[in-house]
């Protein structure tokens, strides 16, 4: 083996050790997750359900940035306790973020946001102001259909009926 070969193989094993230790740390923190951890609602409106399924009864609705306490995980569903007096229930993991979402700029917490990846500032970056600015420069681009599209809402009970009528299994709530 040449000198370079030796160096390279030492380098490789070092990286391998680093990878293994990173994985160990990651799995240890995953195991600790569950009780008492807090997460944030990362969608405009998040539904809380009685059972871990989209077909479960909706027991509450939370807003963007709301902090919830994690009670139990049953991937991809998470049982949470909402802030305030709301009843606990299930939310799909895709509606929640590990990050704290701050709704207002300014203040001490927001200063931390710039340095850490654990905070997200709502309304920052590409936002309604940027869209307004864009619209001013591109008057030919029409947003009215986008607004109409987003106003089209499908009630959950219609989805349940649609699945049933179509002979589609509803046991797992229409999804994973």
């Amino acid at each position: 083996m040449t000198v370079i070969g030796k160096i390279l193989s030492a380098w490789r094993s070092r990286w391998f050790a680093l990878l293994v230790s990173c994985l160990l740390v990651a799995s240890a923190s995953a195991a600790a997750a569950g009780g008492g951890k807090a997460m944030s609602v990362q969608v405009k409106q998040g539904q809380v359900r009685a059972t871990p399924s989209f077909l479960g009864k909706i027991v509450g609705t939370l807003s963007y940035g709301d902090r919830v306490e994690v009670l139990e995980q049953k991937a991809p569903w998470i049982r949470i306790r909402p802030p305030g007096k709301g009843a606990p229930g299930w939310m799909h993991a895709s509606a929640l973020s590990e990050k704290r979402i701050l709704l207002k700029a300014g203040g001490k917490e927001a200063d931390v946001a710039a340095s850490g990846g654990e905070l997200a500032l709502a309304g920052k970056g590409f936002n309604a102001d940027v869209e307004t600015e864009f619209k001013k420069k591109h008057r030919d681009i029409d947003f009215s259909w986008i607004d109409r599209m987003q106003a089209m809402k499908v009630p959950q009970e219609k989805i349940g009926a649609f699945l049933k009528e179509g002979g589609l299994p509803t046991s797992q709530g229409g999804g994973k």
């Binding site: 160096i7 380098w11 230790s21 940027v130 089209m152 179509g166 589609l168």
Partner: protein
């Protein structure tokens, strides 16, 4: 030889540093590593600068785009699409598409996006479909005319949901543009944005929209992105109970109907035949599509005259 060895020593140092710091971020490691290497004369000042720059660039990717920002990008991408293709204002057909699409989206790995999934038919004879970031999905009348069953429409929508779930649109934003925009956002995040920041961000926003729409409308995604979206579609269809063969059947129709040199799916997607081959390699089985009378009836009622 000398320079090769220096490079090896330098990399070894990077490795050692990472080991010592446990799981310290790569950016920190690279920064410290370059200052050490610079003092040893292994890299020049300019090279050091560029290493630090590139690693910071790596640290900011499409994954740093928040769901809220994705939502605003998606709205504008959608607006560009409906400004180019007129929407098809048939309430019954659009309601059916939304009901079917929502059912499928709930079975995806990413059922919840900031503003949710919404579907709209485009009044165009082209064989086309688009998925704007965040879940705004558009399907042309030309595409729907190729569908012979609800399962086939489900296959088209599931493929587009796959693109949203995998955030393919956001990944077509030019990397340096994105890094710059995200750096501005991060640097300014402690303060309220001023008019200069909004102007800068609007420019980055415009550029991002152009990158995404050019990819979606003109150039198409890579074959691997299409393969991933097809694989996502197969899993969504199976979870809901649709026959994944609906996707293969739909691709068969496209194979027959896409015109070589066309400006639609013919231009932006790999050939249907190669997509069928890729789906076959997923081993989804080859059972014949099951026709369910109730599904067929509602499909004809909503889209029979499309």
């Amino acid at each position: 030889m000398r320079s090769l060895r220096s490079a090896a020593v330098f990399t070894l140092f990077l490795g050692g540093l990472a080991g010592a710091h446990g799981c310290a971020s790569f950016e920190q490691v690279a920064k410290a590593g370059t200052s050490f290497a610079r003092s040893q004369g292994v890299v020049t000042e300019t090279q050091a600068q560029s290493i630090v720059k590139t690693t910071s660039a790596v640290a900011k990717t499409f994954e740093d785009i928040t769901p809220e920002q994705e939502y605003y990008i998606g709205r504008t991408v959608g607006a560009v699409i409906v400004s180019r293709y007129k929407p098809y204002a048939n309430a019954e057909a659009n309601n059916y598409l939304n009901l079917l699409g929502q059912t499928l989206a709930q079975a995806s790995d990413r059922p919840e996006t900031f503003g949710g999934y919404h579907f709209l038919i485009l009044d165009s004879g082209e064989i086309n479909a688009f998925a704007a970031p965040g879940g705004l999905i558009f399907v042309s009348r030309g595409m729907l005319r190729l569908c012979r069953s609800e399962d086939a429409v489900a296959a088209v929508l599931a493929h587009e949901i796959g693109h949203v779930q995998l955030r393919h649109g956001l990944q077509s934003i030019d990397k340096s543009r994105l890094t710059q925009a995200l750096t501005t956002i991060a640097a300014e995040s402690a303060k309220t944005m001023g008019s200069k920041e909004i102007a800068d961000l609007t420019r980055a926003f415009e550029g991002s929209i152009t990158d995404i729409t050019a990819t979606m409308i003109n150039n198409g995604y890579s074959r691997s992105f299409e393969r991933e979206a097809d694989a996502a579609a197969v899993s969504i269809l199976s979870r809901v109970g649709y026959d994944p063969e609906g996707l293969v059947a739909m691709l068969g129709e496209m194979e027959k109907n896409l015109k070589p040199g066309g400006l639609d799916f013919a231009k932006t997607h790999p050939s249907p035949k190669s997509r069928i081959d890729d789906i076959r390699s997923l081993n989804v089985g080859g059972k014949a599509a099951r026709v369910v009378a109730a599904r067929q009836a509602r499909f004809h009622k909503a889209l029979g005259n499309i």
